[in-house]
Subunit: 236 residues, 2 copies
DNA sequence: CCATCTTTGTGCACGCGTTCACAAAGACAT
DNA sequence: ATGTCTTTGTGAACGCGTGCACAAAGATGG
């Protein structure tokens, strides 16, 4: 089994650390909000508070992009919006297909955060033929068998998987075969992909489990734990 | 403005590193799949492949929980499922409320990964009164004004926010006031919470933007980039 | 033109996370 | 019982990310 690498082991793409790249969308959102309020400039301290990060970290992040600030003044909001957008590749059009139009797929199709950032939903696909033709977010749902043609015709390079876990790998294989090189996976499965294909995973229940861990710790803070205790079930 | 800390700066809760905690749900899922296939034992190598991680990392992760493996054999699947579940606090019942029953909220309510891991949806809440009473995933949608009573009556400690960004902070304040101490936030906003309250964020569009960044890098690999060039728009 | 004040950009140190590589431990065969 | 073989558990090294703290840079006022 060719187990594809899901996420690069901290590849520093063109000198920009992965951790910084992951924060750029955060800054971009905060800056967009400032821009809509016609705020001309912003200091690292203010912007950091708005984005929920440390100001030193923010300044270091920006320093990887270049020296876009003015000492004593701060950063020009519009200019920075442009620079970050360009760096993230959001100044160009990214056609995406969403596969699996259940509740989650519909939520994604309706999500305003996509269209406003250069992402264009090229098509909604589902294996359920009875869904075909129904309008979701103004787009007709199309049958999964049209996948290859749609990807080719629209030069789609990004696919979003919102199918049940069982279908995710097959959909992935078809997407990759058709030419998709980036996949956002909402299905709770580990996907195998060839080298050169990026996969990012969003798992709804994992986050909840992490919260439960910390919540348990809070609750059991005063209480005496049996801790190293042996459970009822013993190993073979 | 009291800007609440969103995520602890790598607090090592009870000796278990945060990074390890974040991977435990991954292992748990892989182990559950093995358990369903009645596989009795599994080696770190096999399990690591199934979970999509490095085997050395997996062994080190498990070593924080204790010595649950048998050298020369591997790990007992059932035993490990139990240990990880207990560590994550999934052996107990966690009532959660979901606020904002749009497409995303409905998707979350229907998501099977919750119920199967100790999470019980105590209530679905929405500000839209016309939704009240409608059944989603077998549960009636209730009005947001019932929030405080529901949280108190069911001893809810975990809240899930799937509202539009504009409503997220107000909902958060009400949840926290009512006694919720862990929040999973799907709204694209930075939430302010008092100390002692955990917030985890899932942002649908951020992941897509990170993919776009890498995709752009792939596309522009051979091409000559102007790179440090000055854009048409100049800063003030 | 000079002094002062604000805010950036970054050198440096520290700590966490990852990975390697191997000794210890146990299973299993003879 | 003894040796071999498999696989765990972990010591140690390394690299990345974070945050402090400050010098450099520029704005602003006199």
């Amino acid at each position: 089994m060719a187990t594809g690498r899901s996420h690069r082991p901290a590849t520093r793409s063109r000198g920009i650390p992965e951790a910084t790249v992951a924060r750029l969308p955060l800054y971009l959102r905060a800056l967009t909000a400032l821009s809509e309020r016609s705020v001309p400039t912003v200091s690292s301290e203010e912007l950091a508070a708005a984005a929920g990060v440390n100001s030193a970290k923010l300044r270091k992040d920006f320093s990887y992009l270049g020296s876009y600030g003015t000492r004593g003044v701060g950063y020009d909001v519009e200019y920075l919006v442009y620079q970050i957008s360009r760096e993230l590749g959001l100044t160009q059009d990214w056609p995406v297909v969403i596969v699996g139009i259940g509740n989650l797929g519909a939520a994604l199709a309706n999500y305003g955060g996509f269209a406003s950032r250069g992402f264009r939903v090229a098509a909604l696909l589902d294996a359920d033929a009875s869904l075909a033709g129904r309008l979701v977010a103004g787009l007709p749902v199309r049958h999964i068998d049209e996948l290859e043609a749609i990807v080719a015709d629209n030069q789609v390079s990004i696919g979003v998987i919102a199918t049940p876990a069982g279908a995710a790998q097959e959909v992935t294989d078809r997407l990759v075969n058709a030419g998709v090189t980036s996949i956002l996976n909402f299905a709770p499965t580990v996907l195998s992909v060839p080298d050169g294909v990026d996969v990012r995973k969003v798992d709804l229940s994992i986050e909840l489990q992490i919260l439960a861990f910390h919540e348990q710790r809070k609750a059991g803070e005063g209480r005496q734990e049996p801790d190293g205790d042996v459970p009822a079930v013993m190993p073979a």
